[in-house]
Amino acid sequence: MVEITLNGKKVEARDGETILDLATREGIHIPTLCHHPAVEPTGACRMCLVEFSMNNGPKKITSSCTLVAEPGMVVETDSERVHKNRKSVLELLMARVPGNPELEKLAKESDARLAPRFPEMKEDCILCGLCARVCEEVVGAKAIFFTNRGTELDVGGPFLESPEDCIGCGACVYVCPMDCIKMEQNAETRKIVKWDRELPMRKCEVCGYPFMPNFQVLRFKKWADMPGDYFKICADCRK
């Protein structure tokens, strides 16, 4: 256990616990966008900023999702400097992705400008990279990733073409905080619209429901060394 000062109160953090997790446990709300408990924190979106100092040293601003509690740490989640920076980050994100409900909700919560002072970009993605991290760390497909750099940074398959390693699992669709990765499905195919990846579906031999893309079955058999007929029926019928 590690004792730190959080918003003026002495609290006990677990070994290796991040300030974001600790604050959440203590009932303190910190806004996040690129954070997800299933993947390693990355500190990209800069929404979860907090102010901290070590052993009465200079106060610095950093992302609470990456900041691990250490003895002698003093953390402020609610200071003026924290709010000012969070608001500026939100303004930049809202200029990039105008009219996004999630961003507007955060802006109202934090009293940030609803009308950014910059020309609108009409993008739908904030480049938090959560889709790529889930694809690599959880799914293991590594089908999508960051590409280019600087203001040209983008996310997608190799050369921004349809990713051949995408198994159509939809994990990226599920975690995207901007809800900008859409999945379309009918009886025959499933399509991840943002990546332009369309895969034929396998139908359950018992109930006939199209439960999984064929390509996903292939990869799962390879990764998990499953018997050949394991994926002939859907999970519901297997029970």
């Binding site: 800069r46 990456t66 900041l67 400097r81 994100l93 960051f146 203001t151």
Partner: protein, 635 residues
Amino acid sequence: MEKATTPQALLQIIEKHEKARDPNAVRISVCGGTGCKASGAGPLIEAFRKEIADRKLDVEVISTGCHGFCERGPLVVLHPSGVFYQKVKIKDIPEILDKTLAKGELIARLQYRDENRTVYVKEKEVPFYKDQERIVFAMNGHIDPTRLDHYLSMQGYRALATVLGKHQPGEIVEMVIKSGLRGRGGGGFPTGLKWKFTREAEGDKKYLICNADEGDPGAFMDRSVLEGNPHLVLEGMIIGAFAVGASEGYVYVRNEYPMAIEHLQLAITQARELGVLGQNILGTGFSFDVKINRGGGAFVCGEETALIASIEGRRGMPRTRPPFPAKKGLWGKPTDINNVETWANVPYIINRGVDWFTSIGTGDVSKSPFGGSKGTKIFSLVGKVNNTGLVEVPMGIPLRKIVFDIGGGIKNSKKGRTFKAVQTGGPSGGCIPDAYLDHPVDFDELSKLGSMMGSGGMIVMDDHTCMVEVARYFVDFLKEESCGKCTPCREGLRRMSEILNRMVRGQGKTEDLAVLEDLGAVMKDASLCQLGSTAANPVLSTLKYFRSEYEHHIATGLCDGRQCIDLIRYHITDACTGCTICAKKCPTQAITGENKQLHKLEQSKCVRCGVCYDACNFNAISILSGTEIREKLGE
């Protein structure tokens, strides 16, 4: 080269080479650095060697590392007299041998003369060198970087022999802490403390990295150190590895530095043969080896966590610190990472002692290594100064001395050009105006002025520089070189770039200045790495010191530096003598006029390239901006 199996044996080898070096021997040093090679030093060296062989003279021709005064290359120094020749060509060789070498006569046209036509005979008398304190560069100019025996003859590897023969790792760490040596790559973090943290960190394996990913536009000091004295950097790294307990090291060097890579690779091979690199170094049981990792030239990979990611084969994207590499670095193991110039200082600190090192520089580091800036720093002095090149100066030297004494003042000062600002610290540094030129140059003082030491870029700007354009240039550079991972840096730079590009076209708005300051504040505070948190410096420092220029751009479209082409007009005044030179040189035929008649400039054809302005010998072309355009041209 014989192999040394004990520290004592290495000392004997060094002493043998030191004795073999005759300080009075006749030697010709020709700079073989990249700058001089670009001006023809390669064939010049070959020609010197051939001529000397043909004449059967007992003279050694040494192809040395960079001497620093690149714009005057190829440089030649005759030893032991120290006679200094510049811009030497192959056809000059017979004359140098006949006159200077044989009779001691000087050849006036090859000698350096300053703006006032004063002639300087010896290298160390030349103003460019006189106020320098060359420690890291001390051997450049004397040794052939491909020759281990040259390095050994100048105390090379003596520090390593001392360390492995007499000291415990902890003592070396203490010594480096006490020396006050701070990171030369930009951050200025005390090197000894980094070593201490790595040494104390838990890990079954530890790594050492030399950061040679020099990315600042116009900066080439790390390149010159690696090219001119690779063994010095290696020796520093081996001592560091012993101190922190590392067994494997990497030099991360740009692939654009082929000579640095070649010389370093050769030095690694030679060091292994000598027995100072590899398994069981000097029979002490300590093992350490070095690999070269060639970088693809991304500016952000100079940031330590991005560099580590790049070595690991991942995208060069920084991660948040803590954990610092000293705890969790390469492959998750404790890793000490220092800059080329930092490593090159280490052998000198061991050889000459902490007291000697702390006698150079500012502040008091006896209680804390943060107490001052010690030793020297190499700057890459470029821009509108008479003498450009690499300069090594003691910490604490006033900026004025670098610009006006070593740099020889502002170029074309006789034509009325005056000093406006000096930009230190590379693209993320700040612009410092005349009022602060007497400030000492050290880590803390430059930060106080809103700039930084950075890796040592120094760009001098004259009154024909537009500070808004300067800010725009650096912001656009960083916008492309940012990794794009975090919001403040990526989106902040994008918006700064939009505003500044608008402003230099005369489309700035009054509220832009407050927005720029807001963006600067969030980038500084909230960015993930140092690239982002310093990226606003060029904007914030010019807003601080040259705010009126921004205001002029917005209010009247006046560009004080007469640089923004949308805001200026070239205009031929009554002083025109009708010499026709401008009309002949104008690439778009915008200028017309008869011989000995006042010429005319057709604005609609003018692309504002400035060729006429530079060509005119009668000061008859003026550059109009702001309200002058309406007043003079009625536009």
